[in-house]
């Protein structure tokens, strides 16, 4: 008897293959080399693109459905936040300094990542890689947009938010992030994947997002918390893509190992330098603190990163070269950078303050070996000077690191009383660095980094010629409004008044 054979059900992987395989057609009237011209020049050898496992099998159809619902939920919460004056539920408007930095430094980074993945998706052969990069590209622009929209509620009431796109290029502290993304997006497609997909999305993302989102939750910033939830459901996909890419490179050819190791060394160091900003934010800018930067590093860096490098060791990968120095620096970086931001706070589009006694006690408990010894005396000095009416402002310009673009304010790994400066000469020009690791990155590709755009140096060039007021206009800073101490700011005055209005009936 003839019977209908029950069709075997496809599993998810087979379904995905069926849905995407037509994207990987064999070209006929152009050669593959011409279609994918950038896939070989970095030296990465790939023998079999079919060994690329699609780490996150999501079809475009369900991707759209998924993201559309996220957007609906996010904007509903944002609307209710706006309608109920959610900004008045913040612990203090001082918290917004953290959000201002995030918007000026990190949001443009999301946009840069969007461009980078769009390009990577075009440059990689292999349908699975192309689809994954395309989705991540759309995710990243969505993140940039939702962040801007979330922050726009604050922009209606508070200063310093008004020109983040210009400031991304022109103001000095944002160049930590901008130079990171400039470097990544001008690298080849494989290095880009290590920089963003691996270093940023895996090794560093928890260090960035968890403190930022928890900080938002602790300080009443529902808009940013909601953004965090909406983004985190994408991050798992991004992380998986980065890890898949590194495994793929290491398994395809043994010659790839030294190249990948070099990139891991480089991008770990660039990432951890960039995250110093997050360190200062956590330790100093959150009125209600979550955990110290050092504690965050212990959990998300040492524990999780350590587990990853244990696994990667099987491929012959060792932990990044800068790991030990980064670990030593955890007792110092957030304090050193914050002291810098505070003494140059006439040039920041956010407010800073000398920490209160209570905060200094918290810092001393979190940093028992270093805070009282090295940093409390400096803050006390700043405080005394301010009380005498002579607040300490540093009108000098520090040397900027040619690679990470941070001001040269960090100390030697083994001597916290000695500034760390490195210098090298390339084609008769002198270049400055904040550390051995940044200098190594330069020496490996000097032709790339001599082109770095260092915004602070523009102060001395035409058309500014060293005029600080002209510089303020150029970076869209309104002196006495966007910059300076929080205690003296319009933000504080307004926030205190509006908060008081909520619970009183005064008619002034």
């Amino acid at each position: 008897m003839d019977m209908k054979v029950k069709q075997k059900k496809l599993n998810k992987k087979e379904k995905y293959t069926v849905q995407t395989r037509d994207l990987g057609w064999e070209p006929t009237y152009q050669s593959k080399d011409k279609i994918f011209p950038y896939v070989e020049y970095e030296g990465i050898k790939i023998h079999d693109w079919d060994k690329w496992e699609d780490p996150f099998r999501l079809s475009m159809d369900s991707y759209w459905k998924y993201q559309a619902e996220k957007e609906r939920k996010y904007y509903a919460i944002l609307d209710s936040f706006a309608q109920t004056n959610g900004h008045l539920n913040l612990t203090s408007a001082r918290y917004l300094s953290a959000i201002k930095i995030f918007q000026q430094a990190i949001t443009p980074g999301e946009y840069a990542a969007h461009k980078g993945f769009a390009r990577a998706g075009r440059e990689f052969p292999g349908a699975g890689t192309q689809v994954a990069c395309q989705m991540q590209s759309i995710d990243e622009i969505r993140h940039a947009q939702t962040q801007v929209h979330g922050v726009s509620n604050y922009n209606k009431y508070y200063n310093g938010f008004h020109d983040f796109t210009q400031q991304r290029d022109r103001i000095w502290y944002t160049s930590l992030a901008r130079s990171f993304f400039d470097d990544a997006t001008s690298a080849g497609p494989f290095e880009f994947m290590i920089a963003i997909g691996f270093s940023f999305e895996y090794v560093l993302t928890n260090l960035l997002f968890v403190p930022f989102m928890s900080g938002a939750a602790y300080n009443g910033d529902i808009a940013s918390v909601t953004f965090g939830f909406s983004a985190q459901s994408d991050e798992a996909r991004h992380m998986t893509l980065g890890l898949e890419c590194i495994k793929f490179m290491l398994e395809q050819d043994p010659d790839n190992l030294p190249i990948v190791q070099g990139w891991i060394d480089k991008w770990f160091w660039r990432g951890i330098r960039l995250l110093s900003l997050v360190g200062s934010m956590m330790d100093y800018m959150l009125p209600k603190k979550v955990m110290s930067w050092k504690e965050a590093w212990q959990i998300y860096g040492v524990e999780n990163g350590g587990a990853l490098f244990n696994d990667l060791a099987r491929y012959g990968i060792r932990p990044p070269k800068g790991w030990e120095d980064a670990d030593k620096a955890m007792d110092h970086v957030s304090h050193q950078l914050m002291l810098g931001l505070h003494q140059w706070n006439f040039g920041t589009s956010f407010h800073t303050d000398v920490p209160t006694e209570e905060e200094m006690d918290w810092l001393s408990a979190k940093y028992p070996d270093t805070f009282d010894k090295y940093y409390r005396p400096r803050w006390n000095f700043m405080k005394e000077q301010a009380e005498k009416g002579k607040p300490f402002k540093n009108m000098g310009l520090p040397k900027l690191c040619q690679v990470c673009q941070s001001p040269g304010l960090y100390t030697e790994p083994d001597d916290p009383t000695m500034l760390c400066h490195r210098e090298t000469v390339f084609e008769n020009e002198k270049y400055q660095f904040c550390s051995d690791h940044c200098m190594d990155i330069f020496n490996n590709e000097p032709e790339k980094y001599v082109q770095a755009y260092l915004p602070m140096n523009q102060l001395f060039q035409a058309p500014l010629y060293g005029d600080l007021n002209a510089w303020m206009d150029w970076v869209s800073l309104r002196d006495g409004v966007d910059n300076g101490d929080y205690e003296l700011s319009e933000d504080k005055k307004n926030f205190d008044k509006w908060r008081n209005d909520v619970k009183s009936n005064s008619v002034d």
Binding site: K9, K13, E69, K70, F229, E235, D311, R314
Partner: protein, 353 residues
């Protein structure tokens, strides 16, 4: 009260305690399900519920969307069971799995033999009407009386002899069950057990040369697999790298020497890690992974490797294989994930090793 969880497409059935998440139950039963954040935010662990009811627990509304809840999807890291359920997870169907159903068996101890000072071989004669069909490499859960409970042991004999199975049991200091086997168990005793369990079997369909790396009391599954392959007429190279500390612990050495003589495609590489300086031993010295590296000249490409032995041996062997360019997709081992392992901080780089 507990419920039954069926995991498609592999068809494995596991028990889930009240309040226990699907993910926790699966991992503890040795079934890998994709996951990452572990608390309902990242959506890596999303699966389709085909039948039955779950409670979504703490699943974030951004990770498990409304339309997905309506389509009966759930996050295994948060979902608990409200009834017996069947899920369809993103795991691959294994063409080499016979998907044998677990059953209860009873038998009689037909033979016992001291294989080494610490390992006893026991043979269990099964009821002729109800022999046990199993895949070489699988294990059984033997029931012990006096409140000892059940213990898992890999089957050391080949599936060819379905009505008598052999177990090799090392005495664990202080271990109730293994002490019972070594000191009290006698030929003629009756025994009940359930099985076959486990997904550790040879991927015959791949048709590539195979390497077995075994040490300590981990010889059972590899021995069963090798006997099975040779019996079936598998023609590609089969290599066994087999490590013990000393000659007196090297059980079944003579059998493997004889097999290597009989079958030209079977290569036997025994190695001793702690043999005295003065000894009659002429073979390899050192650990399993070291002997393997030498034997294969550090190039394991185009093989499949099966590992069985103490955790340190497994760990060193994985590293040796990967440095010799054999990767996760070609490395297999029996995974017994303890509660402690589930708590350990692991990176998501590898899934099955």
């Amino acid at each position: 009260m507990s419920y039954e969880l069926t995991i498609e497409p592999t068809g494995q059935v596991i028990e889930v305690e009240d309040g226990q998440t699907i993910l926790d139950a699966a991992l503890r039963a040795g079934v890998y399900l994709p996951h990452a954040c572990g608390h309902g935010l990242c959506a890596t662990c999303k699966v389709q519920v085909v039948d039955g009811e779950v409670d979504h627990g703490e699943a974030s509304s951004f990770a498990l969307m409304d339309f997905e809840r309506e389509e009966d999807q759930c996050l295994t890291c948060c979902a608990t069971l409200e009834s017996d359920i069947t899920i369809e997870a993103d795991i691959e169907e294994d063409p080499d799995s016979e998907n044998l159903v677990v059953q209860d068996f009873s038998g009689v101890i037909s033979r016992m033999e001291d294989l080494t000072p610490t390992i006893k071989g026991i043979w269990i004669k099964l009821d002729d009407v109800n022999p046990m069909h199993f895949q070489a490499g699988q294990y059984v859960n033997v029931n012990f009386s006096n409140g000892i409970g059940s213990r898992a042991f890999s089957i050391a004999s080949a599936p060819l002899h379905a009505n008598e199975i052999e177990l090799n049991i090392r005495i664990v200091p202080g271990g109730q069950a293994t002490t019972y086997v070594h000191e009290k168990m006698r030929v003629g005793d009756e025994l009940t057990f359930s099985g076959p369990y486990g997904r550790f079997f040879v991927k015959k369909s791949a048709q590539v040369p195979v390497v077995f790396m075994a040490g300590g009391s981990g010889l059972s599954s590899p021995r069963s697999m090798i006997l099975d392959l040779l019996n079936e007429g598998f023609e590609l190279p089969i290599t066994l790298i087999y490590g013990q500390r000393s000659q007196e612990e090297l059980y079944y050495h003579d059998e493997f020497l004889a097999l290597a003589k009989q079958y030209s495609n079977f290569h036997y590489v025994p190695t001793l890690s702690d043999e005295p300086e003065v000894s009659s031993w002429q073979g390899e010295k050192g650990y399993v992974h070291e002997a393997a590296k030498r034997h294969f000249n550090n190039d394991f490409r185009d093989h499949k490797a099966y590992l069985c032995g103490p955790p340190l041996m497994i760990d060193a062997s994985i590293t040796a294989l990967m440095q010799g360019r054999l990767f996760e997709r070609d490395i297999y081992m029996e995974k017994f994930i303890s509660a402690a392992d589930a708590q350990q901080v692991r990176s998501p780089l590898f899934k099955s090793i």
